[in-house]
């Protein structure tokens, strides 16, 4: 029995920990947003309150676990915010820096907890360092600091517990504690109370802190009969026993049960019981993907399931009538109606499920102001960063997949795009480099742009670098238009700036950006005007789950091509195909487009007999159009595309697969990637 109970406790703690991690990420983000807003507008009330709430809540959640160093740092941050809030004084960037440093560390800790379930070894030291840094700003105004401690603040408990060198305190971490906050009334001596006698009778004390309720008056003015003490203590005894001791002074004492740190305890138990499986499972579960969903979307699903039940009942009714020998005509009418109803519901259910997966860009965008600010600080650039379209939604996988690429693009904009202030002023530009991150919906696609008004990209410099680094043959580079030359920044191994900052020195280039975006079914392009700035534009599907594809025939096989890249299908007489060196081209609507044959792309031998008329799919490949010759056009279908997994994940040119109605597998091709 013991074993299963311990297992249960471990499971409950794991659940709690998972929720903590999700919540912590949100609160960290909230606090960061608010602090940055405060830095912009130091007098704003809303972000101040919101930041305080976020930090306060986070500190409270941390208290549930054995993460005391995090609690200490957050407690100090909360005190500082509380003092600033009281004072209503402006908050300068120095204070914001120290608060952000604390929040940033907490974020890193949460990431470690997510991985390992516990804080790193150096956390205690770091927690103290942060707390000291924060408190040093508080100390400038000690009276405020004292005021900001309310009895609801139990962070001092963490302080007492963590630093207890005393083994009794350490031991105490394994069991629930009662926190006592006792502020005797000033006239309590006259009532015959002796607060010290009460404290003495508290069983199992593990920590005590004595302080003055109000600052001590000068020696000559001390009133020996007016009690001015504040007593904080921790006891390992049960709450009821402690309560009994203070039963005559309930108005002066507040008791809190600190459900300490059972977590370590519980997982330790699981291991001790040979439950390595359970422990592993727990670690796996922590890494599981969580999705926060608007409740109304779940309600919609529930409604649809209800309607589905009604539709099913209608079908059952029909089946009953069949038994009763209803005539064929009525039956077929009924069946058709029922089928139509179910079809509609399935479509709506699918839509509703997809809807659940939709999330706003805000969820990743909100992390960028902080990142840009940090970078600008490190590189000594002055940036005016703004964002638009945070509310634009896309599939969770698309939105989350955009974080890294966008971060990299923003890094480039700050690191390479933004000029020093002096140069900007000389060029007649505003002193601050403007960087705009913008998302908008464009039909079935989401477009995300990063626009800066910095120095722009010099095509000559790109050509030079491309030649030097052997990105492309020299004569090829010379022939490129300026726009195509600039596009070389996406080429593997390209990096335009000779000085290596700690940002660009990570071996991640724009090629990684393009491939990450393309993995999501998107495209990346760049436009730049030297002296005027650069725009990186990403175009992504709203969802990578449901894809409209056009099936095309090649020999006897069917392949899928995502419809969103296809402009039209065309028949091109073989005589109109123009050989261009070792390639082919054809004229389409007064434009000359390159022609590629799908058979060549896939390395399949061409049909023995060349057709008189080519069937060509005209589609986008990057920013250009291309014609893809196939053997036949088949129908357009909506498919649930499964991304390639396992060893097939790296297979170039294939986006994913889907099952067709007859059970065969349709490979969905990534034509731009195949063309390479």
């Amino acid at each position: 029995m013991r074993l299963s109970i311990n297992g249960l406790a471990a499971t409950v703690m794991d659940d709690l920990l998972q929720h903590f991690i999700v919540e912590a990420h949100e609160l960290i983000q909230q606090a960061t947003d608010d602090l940055l807003a405060l830095e912009r507008n130091p007098q704003a009330t809303a972000p101040m309150d919101s930041a305080f709430r976020a930090v306060h809540t986070l500190k409270g959640s941390v208290g549930l676990f054995d993460f005391a160093p995090m609690g200490i740092a957050l407690h100090a941050a909360e005190d500082l915010l509380g003092a600033l809030k009281e004072k209503r004084a402006g908050i300068d960037s120095h204070v914001v820096d120290s608060l952000l440093a604390c929040i940033g560390q907490v974020e890193r800790w949460v990431a470690v907890i997510e991985q390992t379930g516990q804080l790193p070894l150096d956390a205690a030291e770091e927690g103290y360092r942060l707390a000291r840094a924060l408190r040093s700003q508080l100390d400038e105004d000690p009276a405020q600091a004292a005021d900001s401690i309310s009895q609801a603040d139990l962070g001092w408990i963490d302080e007492l517990m963590v630093q207890g060198r005393d083994p009794a305190v350490r031991r105490a971490q394994d069991r629930p504690l009662v926190a006592i906050w006792y502020t005797p009334r000033a006239d309590c001596f006259f009532a015959g109370d002796d607060p010290m006698a009460l404290l003495r009778s508290v069983p199992d004390l593990v920590a005590v802190r004595l302080s003055a309720r109000d600052p001590w008056p000068p020696a000559a003015e001390i009133d020996p009969f007016s009690c001015n003490l504040r007593i904080e203590a921790l006891s390992g005894a049960e709450l009821d026993r402690v309560k009994a001791i203070f039963r005559f002074v309930p108005d002066q004492v507040s008791l809190h049960e600190v459900v300490g740190t059972a977590q370590e305890h519980a997982s330790g138990m699981a291991l001790a019981n040979g439950g390595t499986g359970a422990a592993m499972g727990a670690a796996g579960a922590v890494g599981a993907r969580m999705l926060r969903v608007d409740a109304s979307r779940i309600d919609r699903l529930a409604d649809l399931v209800g309607e589905m039940v009604i539709a099913k009942n209608a079908l059952a009714h029909l089946a009953g009538q069949f038994e009763d020998g209803l005539d064929r005509k009525h039956l077929s009418q009924g069946l058709l109606a029922s089928q139509a109803a179910i079809e509609r519901l399935v479509a709506e259910l699918h839509g509703a499920v997809m809807n659940i997966r939709m999330m706003p860009m805000r969820d990743i965008f909100r992390r960028f102001p902080r990142a840009v600010r940090d970078l600008a600080g490190q590189l000594d650039k002055v940036i005016d960063f703004s964002m638009e379209g945070e509310e634009v939604e896309a599939d969770k996988a698309v939105v989350e997949g955009l974080f890294e690429p966008l971060l990299h693009i923003l890094r480039n904009a700050v690191g390479h795009g933004a000029e020093p202030e002096r140069l900007r002023l000389e060029a007649g530009k505003p002193a601050k480099t403007r960087i705009v991150l913008r998302a908008y919906r464009d039909g079935e696609r989401v477009r995300v742009e990063v626009v800066d008004d910095g120095r722009g990209i010099d095509p000559a410099a790109i050509r030079e670098a491309a030649r030097k680094r052997g990105i492309a043959p020299a004569d090829h580079v010379d022939r490129l238009s300026d726009a195509d030359a600039i596009d070389l920044i996406f080429a593997p191994g390209f990096s335009t700036v000779s000085e290596v900052t700690d940002l660009s020195g990570r071996g991640v280039g724009m090629d990684a950006v393009r491939s990450a975006v393309e993995r999501l079914g998107g495209q990346a392009s760049v436009r730049s005007l030297p002296g005027h700035g650069t725009t990186i534009r990403l175009s992504l599907p709203l969802t990578i789950v449901m894809t409209k594809v056009m099936a095309v025939q090649l020999g006897r096989e069917l392949y899928g091509i995502p419809l969103d890249g296809i402009l039209e299908t065309a028949f091109v007489p073989a005589s109109r195909v123009l050989p261009v060196r070792d390639a082919e081209a054809f004229v389409w609507r007064d434009r000359t487009l390159p022609l590629v044959r799908l058979a060549d792309l896939l390395g399949i031998p061409p049909p023995v007999e060349a057709p008189q008329r080519l069937k060509v799919v005209v589609m986008a490949a990057g920013d250009d159009l291309v014609g893809v010759a196939v053997d036949g056009f088949a129908e357009r279908i909506d498919v649930l595309m499964r991304p390639m997994t396992g060893i097939l994940a790296g297979m170039p040119g294939v986006m994913g697969t889907t099952l067709l109605g007859d059970g065969s597998v349709l490979m969905i091709l990534d034509i731009p990637e195949l063309i390479g």
């Binding site: 205690a124 030291e125 103290y128 360092r129 707390a131 000291r132 001092w156 302080e159 007492l160 630093q163 207890g164 005797p184 309590c188 001596f189 109370d193 002796d194 607060p195 010290m196 006698a197 404290l199 003495r200 004390l205 920590a207 005590v208 802190r209 004595l210 302080s211 003055a212 001590w216 008056p217 020696a219 000559a220 001390i222 020996p224 009969f225 009690c227 001015n228 003490l229």
Partner: protein
């Protein structure tokens, strides 16, 4: 009386009660250089304790009483545990 003056030393002995606070305060106010001896103290009434906390005289002798020695005298010695975290380095 559990509080008495011996030369320049104020000696607290046995259970110190609320009425000991006033003479203690008087002696310390008269001469802030006086030392307080806690060795024989069995209990300090809160009124007595807060005089010591407010005026912070030098303390002599470790109380035999465990509660005093463990939880109370550190606060009087200026070694209130929460103020002394482990130092970095």
């Amino acid at each position: 009386m559990s509080v008495r003056l011996d030369g320049n030393v104020i000696i607290l002995e046995g259970p110190c009660r609320v009425e000991d606070a006033e003479p203690l305060l008087g002696w310390l106010q008269a001469d802030r250089g006086r030392m307080v001896d806690l060795a024989g103290a069995e209990h300090l009434h809160a009124a007595v304790l807060q005089i010591l906390m407010a005026l912070r005289p030098a303390i002599r002798g470790a109380a035999e009483d465990a509660f005093l020695r463990y939880w109370i005298t550190p606060a009087l010695m200026g070694k209130n545990p929460p103020e002394s975290g482990p130092q970095r380095g």
